[in-house]
Amino acid sequence: MLKVKTIKLSGFRGIKTPQELFCIKAGETKPTSFVLFGVNSSGKTSFMDGLEWFLSPENKIQWLRREDAQEAAYPHNSAQPGESYVEIEFFEDSKTIRLRKTFDDNRKTKPILSDNDEFQRIYQSFVIKPYFRYLEIVEFVLNRTGVQKYQELARWMGFESELNFQEKLAKVVSQLEKKKELIETRRDDTLKAIGQLLENTVVDETSILTYCNKLLKGISSEINGAILEPLTSKESLQKCLPNIAKLQIQTSHAKNLNILSSAQTDLSAFAINKSLIDQITSLKNERDKFVGKQKSTNNINSIDLYNKAQEILSNNDKEKTKCPVCGLEWNRRNLLEHIKEELNLLDQINLKKTELIQKVEKALHLIRREQTLTAQTIAKYQEIESVISPLKYDVIKQYGSILTEFEYSMAGDIFSTGWKLSIPDTKIFDKLESEISQIIKFINEEKAKLEPSKEVLLLDSTIQSLRKTNELWDKLIQEKEEHDFWAAEVSKFLEIGDTIGELIRNGIKNLFDEISSLIEEYFVILRKDKDIKNIKIDFNVTKKAEGRSAEIQLSYYDVNVKPAYKILSESLLNSLGLSVYFACVRKFNKECGFIVLDDIINSLDIQHRETIINLLEDKFSDFQVILFTHDDLWFERLQTRFPHWVRKKIKKWEYDTGPRIDFANTTKEELDLMLGEDETKAKEAGMKFGEYLEGVLHELCEKLEAKIKYRYYKQDLPVMNELFEAGCERLKDILGDQHDLVAKMKNAWQNDPLIRNFCMHDRRNYASSISLTEVKNSYQKWFNEVENNLRCTECHKIIEYVKAKEQVHLQCEKGHLKLK
């Protein structure tokens, strides 16, 4: 199992210069348990913080997070970059592994690991974290809900992955349920809307069809004598709608309205070509200009002749020659030039003529388009006149005549001399627009005057209601289908969720059952004074977090209690918390052989603190315990009970450096050191021995169940006479007056000068003139003659009163030492 040899901190929390704790004794190779004593604020928590940071895969110190201190608070204030680190030397299978975690100022949450793989191996060696603080016990037993306890247990017992999956599954199920509910809400809204339409709370096929048939019955006798068949299904409603729409169109009112509305739409879209007259005018001007060059145009027909002449002349090489066209004699070269010029001129004229013809064709196309438009508009006016009083539309008729004249002219020979075309005033277009606007306005006025008949209104509203019903019914069918489908699918998934949830719960319940007996076993060691049994961790029955909430239950003086905090005192609950932690360490940390405990005795009453020592001794002797404490009495007990541990104390703490650590000694070892050669230590040694003796007598009287005289007056001097008196009397009662130990104890009480002083005088005042030899003699006599006979050399415990089978005797708790 993994153990710790050395712990070294530098520039971390309250420690500036490197400090090293050696959990190994001089000359030995294997590490041993270790205890560090220091008063509050002496720096021992810095070591605990360092260990937690080092052992935390997340590189966090939990209690500092609660104090709202983040990673920036980890290094010592004056530590330079790279100076803040924790280094631990591990020991496993006779091998030593040294690992260092260094704080990175640039990435405060990501420290530098000396060997990433080895660090991962260390993290994987434990399930429950191998460090525990007093505060965590309090939190676990007192301040946690069932859900939080379950989460903590998951971390302690290593079923975090199951817990994460349980939480994920719960959220997934909730999300799917929400989606299903959303579809359900949509369906219900549609149902509600149909219900409002039907004025009926029952919405089904029968009620919808009844409603529709009632509507149809209202109109069937009114419309053109048409008889509508009663609806029998959704399909019949679907088929019926277009037929009713036809009826709507057939009513005279609707017909008229349709004519006017249609006419209005068409007239609004009417767009005349306002540039037509300008285009015609321009064409006419071009034509007039072209025709003005009469001579040229007439000669166009001579082009072929000139071409032929050019061909003949090209084959004739005589200097003087006659023109084949006009018969005049020309110089051949000049004649050729002349013909070329004539041909060029005629080509240009021909080109222009072609261009004019094309323009005429284009103009004709425009004119005919305008004619069609005009004819359609006039037809529309005539249709309107069938509904409302006669209209006045002279301008469009006039425009029609103009177009006819244009067409006639353009269709003729525009190059002939008799060709004529009169151009109208372009103001005709403004007049046209004004006329159309007036007619549209008139239509609007007439439409407003049209009063619909009752039958039309009824038909309109019926159609509207039927369409709406049909639309909502379609929607409802679709939403119902979707909902039913989703409900079935979600139900299938829930079955899986329930089954997997049950498998996970069963697995965890087995863990709970396995650990529960161990918790009880440890609890009995910590609190054998109470009748508490049947300790069990079990799931809470809760709707909110079913299967994800746990509580501890137990039987307290035969009364079943769940949760345990309902009835147990804080001290008992803390003992329970400790038992759970220790049980988890024993059960799950198979490879990690050390536990770091920080001031955990705070959680127990003074009289029960030794029971933790018993637990460590009885159940964790194979573990290495690294313990930090500020309690000097407990420290003293630990030193006495575990003399083989490495024992250290923090002598003082300085801001610049941190704690100053020294070896710690038992009182006897300290007295031995004090009583060397230095006479000045006599008074101090006497005081120390007095305090120690008082503590041992207290413990002895408690263990013997001795009756101590009650101190009534405040002014009674704090002496230890009553303790000796009670202790001696009790020993005499049990062992008899003649027992050697009784005699020796009595002798020490009554005859040793220093002890007699302790018993007669205020111990705050004594030993003012005591010598070194006197102290030495007294304490050696006490240890050699009395205490060595009271304390077991194996378990280091003082004898206690035992009554069994009507017999009374004295023995140490383990029974190694028995006095008769």
Partner: protein, 60 residues
């Protein structure tokens, strides 16, 4: 250490063949990839929506 227990349970369920295999596959993938719950929920929703669309097409 109980790290792979969830996977073990899911595989057991799948091998029994009593439950929807496609849903179990989504959970297995979610466990393996350590998907967030909303990713898993979304994957399941998509499967259901797709199945619904297919069922409508089949009817049509």
């Amino acid at each position: 250490m109980t790290d792979r227990n969830v996977k073990k349970y899911l595989e057991k369920l799948k091998s029994e063949g009593k439950h929807d295999g496609e849903f179990i596959d989504v959970l297995l993938a979610s466990d393996t990839n350590d998907d967030d719950w909303f990713v898993t929920a979304n994957n399941l929703s998509q499967i259901i929506d797709q199945r619904y669309a297919e069922s409508k097409n089949n009817k049509a």
